[in-house]
Amino acid sequence: MREPISILAVGVSCPGGSDPALLEAAWSSRQVAQITNPAITREVATIDLAAEPFNRWRMRPRLRRASPLSHHLIEAVAQILESRPDIDPSRVGLVGAFFIGCLVYSVRFYKGLTTDGRRFASPILFPETVVNTPLSHVVSELKIGGPVYSQTGDTSCWSTALRTAALWLANGDVEHVIVVGGEEFDPVFLDVMQSARWFASQPETGVAEGAGAILLGKKSPDALAQIHRIADGFSFRNRAQASVAAETLVGEFDPSLPFADTARNWTRPAVAKALSGRNLSNACGESNFEAFAATCAWNTIRAVRSADSRLVVPFWGLSQQMGAIEISR
């Protein structure tokens, strides 16, 4: 990045509601739905799409059959556009970051073809399993006209998506880019977490769903915050590599900068070692729920809303890469 980029607005769709201030409340109020799988039980925080404000999208023709993820994303992105009527959506780019993607309909579609027979697979469900379909719905409904990428990867794909937005701004492709991270919950994801032993290091952590979005533009005096640096692509696959990746990532930033305390998963020991001697910030708060790419977005929004004047928000990843951003208010 040659110069800082501005965070101009934020949008949130979370189990607590749609106001960014509710991000904190969502964690403390624990609107929990108990999901029981034959093998495991976990606390899960989901969004009631029939309740306000989320239900405003349900009767839109294109969204009636859309996945929950589509609804989470459109609510978060719509908040941004509604808060900035001065910005023309047709000149806005959109980047989505997803760790899980369209899980609910993918599982339902595959279940259908394996139980009813391949010839009876659902032609209505299949298009909704495609990774970029949710953002396609968002673009269509909100009349967004700039470039659109759906990006997948480790939970830290949020920082990769931010880098794509920074690139589009630097190249002059668009004047504004919305970056949105989102996930949806399906019970089978508990089996995923259990099988991959991701729960082992997080025995108290539940799973959440939702989305967070930020509007980015070139440096502006009316910004909520500035992003000064995006450090991305510190690869790992095991504990030893995670330690090296964490130390390398931390070493990229000025030693005087505090790091938001966001480590929650099996990388925590490696992260703790890398951050020894560094100041830690509670800007992103405590949370007992993990929503992956959405959590990365929420952590960014919480850092923007925090009292810290300048800090690093790291995205430690789950299985492949780490990234971080340096922001100031």
Partner: protein, 411 residues
């Protein structure tokens, strides 16, 4: 003729220094290209995934290369997608001279711009089958090797580098997006060199998805044919080493082609059908032309998306007919009639074919199409045709309305 062929100048300085591919026609670029130019097709009964009960049971399976540079145990853990991606990426790195004699990248940090739509889906399917059957054996390896970031890690670990990796999943336009993004990274000064690529393996979920949409051709895939009946699914991978001309020159790399334009738009007409007017695709192509600073008359050949479905080909042809209005339109081909629709890999494979056309000045013939639709009648490439102009347009469209256009030029 050679003088005018190489006369186009561009202000862009994004070059290609190596490529590699795995396709249903061959396990590397040379074998794929020789069979493509010869007009061969790869349609055959599908055997790598279960398709019994589907309306259509044929497609184009890739020729799987041996991965003999990795331990057998490591290879056995790879998803089918990774088994396609690794040989293609390795071939590209060797071609560009960035793979050391030890089999590892000469750059410890090498950015990647990748595309796929289904990741290691067969492992995800096996995981779900295991969950529903109450089987807990091998579930960890299945689920942990399914996501896209695991194919990223497979590439990084086996070829010896780390660094940023962007995986774009814009349906069937993803491959062109990955290459365009790599070019953007170089053009914007975000990277000096990028390994761009796409990979896609056949899997039950996606195959049955296209089958249930009745989008699969019951017989041959006939792009731009009045009697076309659908697409043929395929699989494969292609990778390109993309860098700045300055970086390539500094390391003494041979420049094999240039990326001079990239456009992408989103069509909001329908989730699975393009705007029948082709309007959004037309804008996409014009944006690529604008970036390149070229007139459409500079283009000698189009590698079309050309899936062979009624909706795609008519919309695409409508866009082409509006952009290319002169009497000698570009020579048109859809290589999907030969190798099938490889979804997230399609844009990367077709970009490699476009660069090979520029390098050899030979255009792959359009096979299977016997009754061209009026909009492109007379455009379709015939066997033995020579590329007369130094720029090729490669176009892709995808579900969700993704459109992408790349302009590739000779050195």
């Amino acid at each position: 003729m050679a003088g005018s062929f190489y006369s186009v100048q561009s202000s862009q300085e994004v070059v290609v220094t190596g490529w590699g591919c795995v396709s249903p026609l061959g396990g590397n670029t040379e074998s794929t290209w020789s069979r493509l130019i010869a007009g061969e097709g790869a349609r055959a009964p599908i055997s790598c995934i279960p398709v019994e009960g589907c309306r259509v049971v044929e497609g184009a399976e890739a020729v799987m290369p041996k991965i003999d540079w990795l331990p057998k145990k490591s290879v056995s853990r790879l998803s089918r997608a990774a088994r396609l991606a690794l040989p293609a990426a390795r071939e590209a790195m060797v071609d560009a001279g960035i793979l050391g004699s030890d089999g590892r990248s000469v750059f410890s940090r090498l950015e990647m711009s990748l595309s796929t739509t289904a990741n290691g889906m067969e492992l995800g399917e096996a995981f779900l089958q295991g969950v529903w059957a109450g089987n807990t054996r091998q579930q960890s390896s299945r689920v942990s090797r399914y996501p896209a970031q695991q194919q990223v890690a497979d590439l990084q670990q086996s070829l010896g580098f780390s660094g940023p990796a962007m995986v774009v999943s814009n349906a069937c336009a993803s491959g062109a997006n990955a290459i365009g993004h790599a070019a953007d990274l170089v053009r914007g000064g975000f990277a000096n060199i990028v390994l761009a690529g796409g990979f896609e393996a056949l899997c039950e979920l996606v195959y049955c998805g296209f089958d249930c949409l009745q989008a699969l051709a019951p017989d041959d895939c006939r792009p731009f044919d009045a009697n076309r009946r659908g697409l043929m699914l395929g699989e494969g991978a292609a990778f390109l080493v993309i860098e700045s001309a300055v970086h390539a020159a500094a390391r003494g790399a041979k420049i094999k082609g240039r990326i001079i334009g990239y456009g992408h738009t989103t069509d909001t007409h329908h989730i699975t059908q393009p705007d029948p007017t082709g309007g959004p695709l037309e804008i996409c192509i014009r944006r690529a032309l604008d970036q390149a600073g070229l007139q459409h008359s500079a283009i000698g050949h189009i590698n079309a998306h050309g899936t062979g479905t009624p909706f795609n080909d008519s919309a695409e042809a409508a866009a082409f007919a509006r952009v290319f209005t002169e009497n000698s339109p570009p020579r048109l081909v859809s290589t999907k009639a030969a190798i099938g629709h490889t979804l997230g890999a399609a844009g990367t494979l077709e970009a490699v074919f476009s660069l090979l056309a520029l390098q050899t000045r030979r255009i792959p013939p359009q096979i299977k199409t016997t009754t061209p639709i009026p909009e492109v009648a007379g455009w379709l490439a015939q066997p033995g045709e020579v590329l007369e102009k130094p720029v090729v347009l490669s176009v892709n469209l995808g579900f969700g309305g993704s459109n992408a256009a790349l302009l590739l030029a000779a050195v």
